[in-house]
Amino acid sequence: MTFIKPLNHHPKLEKNNLGLTRRDYEGAVSSLCAGCGHDSISASIIESCFNLNIESYKVAKLSGIGCSSKAPAYFLNQSHGFNSVHGRMPSVATGANCANRDLLYLGVSGDGDSASIGIGQFIHAIRRQVNMVYIIENNGTYGLTKGQFSATNDLDSKNKYGDDNLFKPIDLATMAIQLGATYVARSFSGDREQLIPLIMGAMQHKGFALLDIISPCVTFNNHAASTKSYDYIREHNEAVGKTDFVPLGEEIKTSYDEGTSVEVNLHDGSKLSLEKTDKNFDPCDAGKSLNFMREKEKEGKVLTGLLYADSTAKDLIETLNMTETPLNQLDQDLICPGSKILDLINKDLS
């Protein structure tokens, strides 16, 4: 049973601009359950990095604790990884980001990791506009501890053992928009065509980019009464439209009907082009976007796609007015004021 769609006929050993094949972006063999949504997301991350000609060693992979948080071991072998403690990846990512502004920070977390123990750090990483891609592999359950409800699980949805979930879900994408995240998308691990451009867009975005990806847990939350099962999502998924990633320099090929198409500029000059399915939706207007999400939620739909983007915001590094050189590369003579100045300070203190 596999949910990974075959990639659009790419021959396995195709090379990208760096001369690398997809294999070069792989990681260790996954120890997740066969069919776990998280593995599909890993595959999409690999594909995105391949497409974007990313140098793995300039990526830092960070995570908390959980099945989802194990995932970074299963892609980008040449990247440093940091599997930190439960729910605290955002702070580690923030510090790492400040220490070296030149890497691409890829955070991977679970719904337990981010919506419960880690929600404070999640919120404050957004508030600070840490320049990172933050992926939530959202399965509505605590996979690694065997199937307890997570805080993103829907009210009255049931667990594997038939118990009702008694509490309303926290919608992390809504929360992120509300808090000023500058790139927010929701997607589904099983829909790689939608997911890959969204990941690519997030990687090229400057600032905090959230991807809330429904990622079914085949072992604990894929039954009939679950609202995070493959079947449920396939049925209730409603995309805001079709998203394409348009690399720097390339032109948008398809011309959409007037009013239905939006372009989102990304930091490096590349673009996301979105063919909207609904005129009322506008991913550049947070208020409208939130309303649209609320509406769709009422209709019982899971709205996916690029929900909000703002490519003009400052990231933390800018806000803190940091030097261009990564802090971890500053020479001693730049950062140690030396004895002469110490003499002056001594004088002031006497």
């Binding site: 060693y57 300039k58 605290r88 702070s91 923030t94 980001n97 400040c98 220490a99 971890n328 950062i335």
Partner: protein
Amino acid sequence: MHNLKKVESISAVNNFVIKFANVNGSGSASANQMFAKAMFRMGIPVSPKNIFPSNIQGLPTWFEVRVNEDGYLGSRGGVDIAVAMNPQSYSKDVEEISPGGFLLYDSTWKRNFNRDDITIIEIPFTQLCVESFKNPKQRALFKNIAYVGALSALLEIEYKVLETLISEQFEKKPSLIEPNLKALNLGRDYVLENLSFPIGITVSRSDKLENKILISGNEAAGLGAVYGGATFCSWYPITPSTSLAEGFEKYAKKYRVEKETGKNLFASVQAEDELAAIGMAIGANWNGARAFTATSGPGISLMSEFLGLAYFAEIPLVLFNVQRGGPSTGMPTRTQQSDVLACAYASHGDTKHVLIFPSDPKECFDFAAKAFDLADQLQTPVFVVSDLDMGMNDWVCDKFEWDDKYLFNKGKVLSKDDLDEMENYGRYLDVDNDGICYRTYPGTHPEKGAFFTRGTSHDEFANYTENGDINAATLTRLMKKFRTASELVPEPIIEINGKDSCGVIFYGSTSPAIHEAKDLLKEKEINVDLMQIRSFPFNLDVWEFIANHDRIYVVEQNRDSQMRTLIMAEGGISPEILRPLVHFTGDPIQASFIVSKISEREVNYKSHINAKKR
């Protein structure tokens, strides 16, 4: 000065305790500090201590200044002069004054204090200020400067010194110089014109402070972090550590900004809590920047989980713990040394951490800088453990020094070239057999040296493993690293004062009280050998000192004799040898307390020995 005295007035030069009793938030701090600084400028050893409530405005607050020509600068106890500006606390303040002492109060509202054994000096400060200043804020504020002026006449403080201090303080707001001087003279002139002066207690220029400075431990540590090359600070406000992070920021803003661009060569982030603060510092250190956090008791508890991660994943980290009164929220504005065990064994599982204990602001500066080297060398958290007394009060200490030839020791970090030459890199391979392995920073090499950092059990190549023997080997190597650490951390300072002396072990801010106690004990013909512990793990000198003594008093400012526990647990030292001597009220320990405890026990000991001999 119109009381009949039954007791003779205290008479002293450069040797007294003066206590200012104020209302919190009434602007007395800078006047009080000016007084202390004036002593310093006159070359007289001085130790001001702020005794403040955990409150912002309206409650009693005190500023106690000990002036001591001999350089004994621990808390002394007793008050020779009280400057009582807060009617709320009059009764306590007046009661505290030693017989023969002096009380100076705002006699705008006259009082009868029912003490005929002290000299009561009445000056109508409020009235004077109301008459001289229009602005109501200034009227209130300048009372404080006015009493400094009065003291300058009463104690013979050099006027010039005060004048200079005022002009320095308001260098950037020169319009304030004149009114401040006016206030100063208001008090001074009142004394000169209406009272007899000087009183029995006076000050006189001295030369005891050559090469000394006056600074708080927190500011010193913040500056030390700048010198030690810290580029990232993440912290969460908590008394008494806040001023350390602020100190770092202050100096970094001054000396760490790129001239051409105005951009910062550092970053400081006020985190959302202590868990985030330490997480950020760990992330930055992992990524090769020198990063630290500063906190106090409750923060240590909250950081415990992350500390275990840094220990086990071997990530450098510098953590300043400025201790306050515990447990729980405890006494946030009082001092203790009660986090020693919490730091040494922080986190669940088998963990041990490196601690260094400065004993004055000079060591705060030195150890702050050194901590970054140690953390990088040892790839583990290094705690700089100070306390509120030394952290927030200005202490006299030696001038700071810096050797420009000194190079940061970034520890075992592989460069791209190093990696190119290597066959088989393993993050946790103990290549040098010292328990310390080789790191790589993210982004170093396109193909080599990447690894996966984790808090789960791992093998020498940083791969996850559930093999118990491999994990036990890792834990055993970490013990080896801890032994290596004992050779790198600051050694104790030992002072041997005679044969058959008893030993005294102490650390941190207990230092001034101990040195005074030692001299006082000598007067009683009790010789003590001193060992100032400056680090955990303990190095050989520590064990040697202990081995050479049959009885040692371990002097600590906590209830549970925490350092003694550490020594016993780590060294297998017989408990009878190590005798707890603890003080844990939250007020700084005093020499007199130490003297009474040691002399009592030493007398017992000697009579016991003599009885045996007989």
